[in-house]
Symmetry: C2
Subunit: 498 residues, 2 copies
Amino acid sequence: MTESNEIHLKDHILYSIINPKSIAIFGANNKFLDTMGAMQLRNIIAGGFAKERIYPIHPKLDIIQGLKAYKSVLDLWEVPDLALIILRPDVVPEVLEECGQKGIKHVIITSGGFREIGKKGVMLSQTIDDIAKKYNMRFVGPNCLGVYNGWYGYPEKKNTHFNTMWIYAIPERGKISIAAHSGTIASHLFWFCKQIGVKIGKSLSIGNERNIDLVDILEYFKDDPQTDVIGLYIEEIKRGKEFIQLAKDITPLKPIVAIYAGGSEAAYRSIMGHTGSIAGDDKIFEAVFKEVGIISTFSVKDFLYYLRAFSYGIIPKGNRIGIITDSGGSGAMMAKAAEKYGLSIPEFSEELKSKLKAYVPSVANIDNPLDLTFQFNQYNLYVKIPKILINSGEVDGIIIYAVFGFEEIMDVVKKSGGKSYEEFDISNQMMKGVYLKPMQRFVRKKIAPIFYIGPQGYSNPWVREFIKSDIPIFDLWDMPIKTFSVLARYSNYRTHHL
Amino acid sequence: MTESNEIHLKDHILYSIINPKSIAIFGANNKFLDTMGAMQLRNIIAGGFAKERIYPIHPKLDIIQGLKAYKSVLDLWEVPDLALIILRPDVVPEVLEECGQKGIKHVIITSGGFREIGKKGVMLSQTIDDIAKKYNMRFVGPNCLGVYNGWYGYPEKKNTHFNTMWIYAIPERGKISIAAHSGTIASHLFWFCKQIGVKIGKSLSIGNERNIDLVDILEYFKDDPQTDVIGLYIEEIKRGKEFIQLAKDITPLKPIVAIYAGGSEAAYRSIMGHTGSIAGDDKIFEAVFKEVGIISTFSVKDFLYYLRAFSYGIIPKGNRIGIITDSGGSGAMMAKAAEKYGLSIPEFSEELKSKLKAYVPSVANIDNPLDLTFQFNQYNLYVKIPKILINSGEVDGIIIYAVFGFEEIMDVVKKSGGKSYEEFDISNQMMKGVYLKPMQRFVRKKIAPIFYIGPQGYSNPWVREFIKSDIPIFDLWDMPIKTFSVLARYSNYRTHHL
C-alpha cells in the first residue's frame, strides 16, 4: 500500500477511534471485576496507553487506578481524541452533550439498554443521534464492547495495543481484521486464536451501529494496509446496497469470511434481546454472500480456521490436492472428505511416481494419497516429497499428516530401562534447524498451500514452533480438507472477478 | 454386569490377547525409534508387564532391553499366553509354526506385507491361515499395531496398561472401547483424547482381520462390563449378516459410533494400499448403520466428541435444549445451529420465567436462549439457573456458555497498577469448592445432559478441572450443539428399540 492510502485512512472516521492519543473515560472506578468500566480502563492502561492522556471522569472520585480523575470532561486542558462511555443508558445523553460541548468528535458508547430493550430505548437512541448530529460527532455503539487495535502505536512502539474490551488474552498481531455485532465474537475468540495462531490486528465490537456501521468499517478495512483478510459476524445489514457494492470490490483483493447469525426463529429471539436488530431470511443472506464472494459459515471454528488459512496469503490455483501421510487410516478419511468437499485427489503420473520412488520406503505404495507408513527420513517426509509434488504441477496443494516431536517417547524409554540416548535429545533440538527452517522457507515461497497435521495438538512444543514460524498446522485431519476446499472455492471466484 | 459375564468373557478369544500374563515377542531389539518391534517392547515394559514373563525371541541377541532373550520360542520354560510377531512377512510362517508347536494359542501379527501387497501376499495369508488352523491358534492382524488395554492388571494393579502399539501418550482409563482397521485411529487419537477427556479403556488395531475380526470383537465388547460405548473405524465388514445382528443387539444398550472410510474413489485407492480390503458403496453402509442404530460420521473430531458424550452416560429424553449464555452472539449462533441440527429451543413458560427472575440481572431478557450478559453471580450462572431449567421439565438438556477462570486478568490488573487483590486469589482457589463441586454433584444426578462451554480452551487449568471432574466441557459452541443433536437422535432410536 502506498503512503496516499495512509493519509486517506487518517481522515477516516475509524482512524481516531482505534488510534486515539488521548481518551476520556466515563464509568471507570477502582473496583475490580464487578464493573465493566473499571476493567475496560485496566485494559487500556495495560495496553500501554500514555497514562498522562487518560482522563477518567467521575462525579466523586479524585484518583482512579492511579490516574487523576475529573468531575467533568469540560475541566480537561485538552480535547481528547476519543470518549469512552460506560454508564447507565439514561445518563448517556447528558454526558454525550458535554463531550459535544468540549469538542470531542469520536465516541464509543459501551452502555447497553437502547433499542434492544424496546420503545423507551428507541427514544433514547434518537436522543443520542440528535446530540451527535448537533456537535458533528461520530460514535461506535451503543451496546458494544468497543475496539481492539493490535497495531496501536505501531511502528514506533512494538508491544502496545489499544483494548477497550472485556478480554485479557491478547492474540498475536497480524493482518486479520474483525467486525462483529457481538462483543463475544470480537473478543472471546482471542483464546482460540492464540491457541491455533489466528493473528488478529483489529477487532471491533460494533453493537447497535446507531452511527458508525458495518459499511463505514468495511470502507476502512478496504484501504487499510494492515488488513489482508476480513472476518464479519453479522446479525443484520443496515445499508444493504452499499454493503453489497463494497463487498464486491473487496473480496477479489481481500477475502471476507462471514457468519450470519440470523435467519432462524430462536436466533431471532436471541438477537432481538441482543442488538435488537430485525434479521432476515437465511437464504437471502446466503445468496448475497455467494454473489459478492463472501465465504460464509455458521460454525465459529470454521470461521477462525478460514481466516487463518487466508491470512497465510497462499491461494491454490485449483482444487487438486496431494495427500502425504504416515498412516493409512488418516489418508483414507482425508480422501473421502476431500471428495465430499469437491476436491480432487488426482492419481500421480508415471513420471512423478518414478521421481518419488527414491524417497519412499520400498514397502510403500506410490499413489495419492501417498502412504509412507513407517517413514523415518523426516526430511523426505516434511520437505523433499512435498517439494517434488508441488514442482510436478500435478497438484494445487498438499496436506501432510505426520507425528511431530517425541516428548512422551523419552518417558517410555526411561520406563523401559533404556539408555538416555543423548544423541536423540540433540536431534530433537536440531529439528528446528534441520526440518523446521527448510519447511518455513518452502512454505514462504507461496507456490501452493502446504498444510501440516500433527496429532499431538496445539499445546505440543514442536507444534507451537510451527505456529511461531507461520507454517500452517492442524491437530487432526478434518479441518485441513475443509479449509482447503474453501481456499479452492475462493480461488475460483477470484479468477472470475479480478 | 454379573460375575457370570466375567467368566464368559475369560473364555472369549480376545481375553488372553488383551490380558496376557506372559508374552513372547519376535522382532524386538535394542534399537531406538527406527524399528517398530523395539518400540513395541518398550511400550509393553513401560506399561508395567511382569518383566520375568516377557520373552524376547532373537536369533543373535542374548539380552534385549535388559531382558534375557531366547533363540527360539521352543526354548521357553512356559507356554506364553500371547505371541507378538513383528517380522518381515516371509519369515512369519516359520515363526508361527514354532508358536504352534510350543502350544501358544493367541498371536498378534503386526507385520505388514500380506494381501495389501497383492497376489504374493494373498498366498502368504493363506499359509498363515493353514498354520493357525493346524494348531488351533487365533490371531489379530496381520498388518496391525495390536492392542491397547487400559484395564490390564485392574483391579489388582492401579497404574498398569498393556500396549503393543506405536503410541506413547496414554489416555485416562474409561469405558470407551475402540476397534479400528487403522492403527492410527486406534492410537494417534490418544493425544486428542487426553486433551478433551475422552476416556479410553481398550483400543484395538485389527488390520487385515485374517482371523479375529470385527464381529469377534463386538461379541466381546457386548458383554464386557468395562465397555459402555463403542467406537469403530471401518474399511470393510467381512461377516455382514453377523455384524448387523450383533450391532442391533448392542446399540440400544451400548451406543456405537462408527466411521466408514470407504465409499469414495480416492479412499478406495488409499484403502487398497492400506488393509487391501474392497470397500463398498457409502450409501449401503449409511443405510445399514441407520437401521442398526449406529451413529455414523466421517469426521474424526465428531467421532471423539460423540464417544465422549455417550461415555458420560446421560441420554436426553428429547430434543429440547435450554441455552444459558453470558454472551448474545454465542447464543444466537447456538440457536441457529440447533435448528439446523433438528433441535428445539422452546420458549420458556411464564411460570418458569417468573422463577428465573430472582436469579437474573434486571437488564437481561428472560427467554431461551437466556442471555445473562454481565452476570457475576457465578453460582447462579453455573448451578442455580441450570437446576431451575432442568427441574422445570421444559427442556431435555442445557448448554451453558461462560468464561471460566481468571488467569489473564491478574496480569492485566498488575500491568494497570492495581492492588494484588488477595481476596480474589483466594476466591479463585475456592472456586473448586464453591462452584465445581456443586456442578459435579448436579451433573452426576444424570437428570439430563448439561454441557458447559469455556472459551479459554482445554489447556486452561480451570477447564482441566472440569475434565478431571467428568463435567462435560467444550471450548467453543459448535460441538456442544452438534453433539447434543446426536444424543437426541440416539435417544429416539433407543426408545423404539429397547
